[in-house]
Symmetry: C2
Subunit: 199 residues, 2 copies
Amino acid sequence: MNYPTTIKNLIECYKKLPGIGEKTAERLALATLNMDDEIINIYTKSLKDIKTKIKRCSICNNLSEQDICPICKDKTRDSSIICVVEEPKNVFLFEKVGTYQGKYHVLDGLISPLEGINPEDIKIDLLLERIKKENIKEVIIAVKPSIEGQTTGLYISKKLEGLDVIVSKIASGIPIGADIDYIDALTLEMALEDRTTIS
Amino acid sequence: MNYPTTIKNLIECYKKLPGIGEKTAERLALATLNMDDEIINIYTKSLKDIKTKIKRCSICNNLSEQDICPICKDKTRDSSIICVVEEPKNVFLFEKVGTYQGKYHVLDGLISPLEGINPEDIKIDLLLERIKKENIKEVIIAVKPSIEGQTTGLYISKKLEGLDVIVSKIASGIPIGADIDYIDALTLEMALEDRTTIS
């Protein structure tokens, strides 16, 4: 005797999500059973829609329900500057900060020779085309400061050599509020290197 | 600018699940986006079915897709013994162990005067009726050894006074594999009290 089929299926689906094991999946499935009908309806509809309604913006490759995403459509934003990020969720992170008023470009990965991810496997060509076509003045590489991130940034800047485009990267350094005692040597090195003048 | 509506809705639904905060819900929703179509179909169907197909067994109150659950229907199981548990998931836990061959009864909670849960709020009446109607020889109280669990056990045994029914409870003691040094005093006290003769 085991759980009824419907619950068993739901447990199996939850187990496919990242970080969800057998026990947690069981707990989530039983909690789902106690959800309000209204929530269940929204939940079911969202799942049904997620594969059909969500596509990629044809300009910046971000998640969007339209062919062109609201950010690319927005005429009030500075279209001469592109912030290059690894994944769609990074766009929403930067948007939460709220200070950036330019456009974005989602790479869908980083160059990683070790994992066999080459420049042509991510959306770099789309970015380069876009930079040449649109009147772009600055490209900000806003990816994580790992080997893969740095390789990707260098590759893009190399490809843009000779063009009248500034390529910058977001600063590496000590997070606000962090204790300097607990920061690793590499971060400190980067923080020193990326120092700015205060007077 | 935020996530497209479909993703936003899915994040909100995930946030309703226990132990899932904003960040995790976001991660789960984006992972759902990458699920295979086949899994999404099963996932959607399970969600749609969970409110309509899953009911409670009219005998033991366990989760079931039929009016009477497979365990209550099973003629090969010992129907003279009932294992009383707090929640449906406990039934599946005992079934995973596999040694228990009697029937079950799901209380759907424990008596807790502090939280305002009285005997009539949980399925004790259904249990008492059942014990009187069926030819029950033993009732095993298999709830957690908390104040609420002990109160519930005592209440049931009191209600069965005078009837020819043995009321027992599962043993409290040191978990197999645990180090005796790290066991709390109350558990040790219970382990002493519940000691059994070995020769």
